[in-house]
């Protein structure tokens, strides 16, 4: 379980307060969707959760262990995937798996076992000896997911993982997320596609202008706002909490 309390992030270089106050609780065996308009602070929050960014204030605890206390141990348990993350283009999926598996201190047997399982699922097996740079966007994304999940993490953080992908690849990734959920993994999914969140997630968090304005069950989102659809609830939350003078959207993470 991940507990986030009053998370805040200010980028010192351009003095932008990207995340002002985010609190949430993410449970194991569930998919938690983080919703918000563009520039609301979703990616910054995800990068803090994945240890890539240090929070300015507030805390993140993985099973009651603060992230700052043992970052290395937490990194062994998590995977972070965005469509911005790339792998070395000169290497083949096989070589990439071997390299990152070793960096995760996995045994050669474990690397081979997990690699076969993931490569078979994502249809990479027949391209395992082709260079990553020669792959299509979808194949690159599938390879990135396979490599990120190689060490069998407990917590998987997906930042808009299906952006720019065709319907077949999107479907494959969505099914894999559900499979991971069934295995009891904790999945955090950041997206601005409401339909994707509705189909996959159990709980939801809405961020507007760097503040978490709703955290709760996905099924209760609409009723909690006194509306009938999720879209209406989202728009209502946005209108009620959006600051006209906010500089959200101008910051560069």
């Amino acid at each position: 379980m991940i507990t986030v309390s009053h998370l805040k992030k200010t980028f010192r270089r351009n003095k932008v307060e990207a995340v002002k106050d985010v609190s949430m609780e993410i449970r194991d065996g569930q998919i938690f969707a983080l919703l918000g308009p563009n520039g609301a602070g979703k990616t910054t929050t995800m990068r803090m959760l994945s240890t890539l960014l240090l929070p300015t204030s507030g805390s993140i605890c993985y099973d009651d262990v603060p992230l700052s206390e043992d970052t290395e141990a937490i990194r062994r348990r998590i995977a972070f995937l965005t469509n911005e993350i790339r792998l070395d283009g000169q290497f083949t999926p096989d070589e990439l798996a071997e390299y990152y598996g070793r960096l995760y201190e996995m045994t050669p047997e474990k690397i081979a076992e997990n690699k076969t399982k993931l490569f078979d699922y994502f249809g990479i097996a027949e391209f395992r000896n082709r260079r990553y740079e020669t792959f299509s966007t979808g194949m690159k994304q599938k390879t990135s997911i396979a490599i990120c999940l190689l060490h069998d993490p407990d917590t998987i953080i997906f930042d808009e993982p299906t952006n720019g992908l065709d319907i077949l690849t999107q479907n494959l990734i969505e099914e894999y997320m559900l499979k991971l959920k069934e295995e009891g993994k904790c999945i955090i999914l950041s997206t601005h596609i409401l339909d994707l969140a509705r189909r996959l997630s159990d709980r939801v968090g809405v961020i507007v202008d760097g503040k978490s304005v709703y955290v709760g069950e996905m099924a209760e989102l609409a009723s909690s706002q006194g509306v009938t659809t999720m879209e209406e609830a989202f728009l209502k939350l946005y209108k009620e909490n959006h600051e006209e003078k906010a500089i959200v959207g101008k910051h560069k993470e």
């Binding site: 994945s50 890539l52 141990a73 990194r75 995977a79 792998l87 070395d88 000169q90 960096l103």
Partner: protein
């Protein structure tokens, strides 16, 4: 703790594999220093050959005087030709760059024209004053000239320079040339490699994946820098081999002289390898700090020029400063130690001191680089 060296080894293996993926880059990296040093030495040989040859012309007012001068003096002064012409012709032959020196003679005066900005022109000047004196007597009449020649005492030229001095002068030239060219080619390689493997991780957006691994970033960085250092070291060896090949073309006397001094003692190879190792370590350290500090290859390349200047200044120091301490300082000790090794004065202590200093600097640079690499991410 047991996993610590494994991360460095893993990063090194990955980096080396990457090099194997671009064999052309590796071949170029080794071939360029080899050819650069060799061609430079060959070019120097050619330039030096040019310096030994010059040409002059003597302009005389009449055909008759011209024929007489040619008949008597041509054999004694083979670099000079004789023609009939006026002062303007003499000046034009220098201005056009056709001749190194031109002499114009009338009944009352001898004028010598030359261009002080041309090295061979200055060299020709001494001989032109001799030919001018002889001409003045020859143009009086043949008898006066014969008397003048018989009266002149015989000139004997003695070179008082010793073999040791000649070797020292030539070694100075060789060492400073090797130093500058080799350091610059090694620095260029280090700059390319560090930009690609350290800054490149951020530019290719592969850095986040590395940060997310539990392996400490500083160990991945050390692995990368050690491979870079090894490649720079290899390019240094190729550059040195090129210099030795160039020396064969350049001046066989120098090579023979050096070989005689060194004899069959192979210790110079060991010293040379240690020197190259210290230089490679230092270069790798300097460039890894620069590459870690920037997220864009463009900025790294720009600031790497500063690193190149730093290393080059170190290599140039012995040319302008002399002192016993100099040979213990890395990079600056290159020329004095190579000179000593060529004269069969094995000096292992300065090399080991420099290696120790370099290792400390390397360690400090790795700490700084790791900090900078991680910091720019946060």
């Amino acid at each position: 703790m047991n996993n610590q060296p494994r991360h460095i080894r893993n990063a090194m293996r990955n980096e080396w594999k990457k090099t194997g993926k671009t064999p052309i880059q590796l071949v170029m990296m080794l071939l360029v220093p080899f050819l650069t040093t060799m061609v430079l030495f060959f070019g120097l040989s050619y330039m030096r050959g040019l310096g030994d040859h010059y040409s002059g012309v003597v302009y005389l007012p009449t055909e008759e005087e011209m024929n007489l001068s040619k008949e008597v003096l041509k054999e004694r002064y083979p670099s000079f030709s004789f023609a009939s012409g006026d002062e303007e012709k003499a000046q034009n032959s220098i201005r056009s760059g056709g001749e190194d020196v031109a002499i114009w003679i009338t009944d009352t005066e001898i004028r010598v024209y030359y261009d002080s900005s041309i090295l061979t022109s200055s060299l020709a000047l001494k001989e032109s004053s001799d030919i001018a004196s002889e001409l003045s007597f020859l143009l009086e009449d043949r008898a006066t000239y014969d008397e003048f020649i018989s009266f002149l005492p015989e000139t004997m030229v003695h070179d008082l320079s010793t073999e040791e001095k000649k070797l020292d002068t030539n070694l100075n030239q060789i060492c400073s040339t090797i130093g500058m060219v080799l350091f610059l080619s090694m620095c260029t390689n280090a700059m390319t490699l560090s930009t690609g493997s350290i800054t490149g991780e951020k530019e290719r957006q592969t850095f986040d994946t590395l940060v997310l691994c539990p392996a400490p970033l500083r160990k991945i960085l050390i692995g990368k820098v050690l491979v870079m250092m090894f490649q720079v070291f290899l390019s240094g060896i190729m550059g040195t081999l090129g210099a030795i090949c160039g020396l064969v073309f350049w001046d066989r006397t120098d090579l023979r002289m050096i070989a005689e001094r060194v004899g069959s003692d192979p210790s110079w190879i060991f010293i040379l390898l240690l020197l190259l190792a210290t230089v490679s370590l230092l270069i790798a350290a300097v460039f890894s700090v620069i590459a870690s500090a920037f997220p864009q290859a463009k900025k790294t390349s720009l600031f790497s020029s500063a690193g190149m200047i730093l290393i080059s200044v170190g290599a140039m120091v012995p040319t302008y400063v002399s002192g016993p301490v100099l040979k213990y300082i890395p990079v600056a000790n290159w020329a004095p130690v190579v000179k000593a090794a060529c004269k069969h004065q094995t000096e292992l202590v300065p090399v080991l001191c420099a290696l120790g200093m370099t290792a400390c600097l390397f360690g400090a640079s790795m700490i700084l680089s790791a900090g900078l690499w991680e910091r720019s991410h946060e």
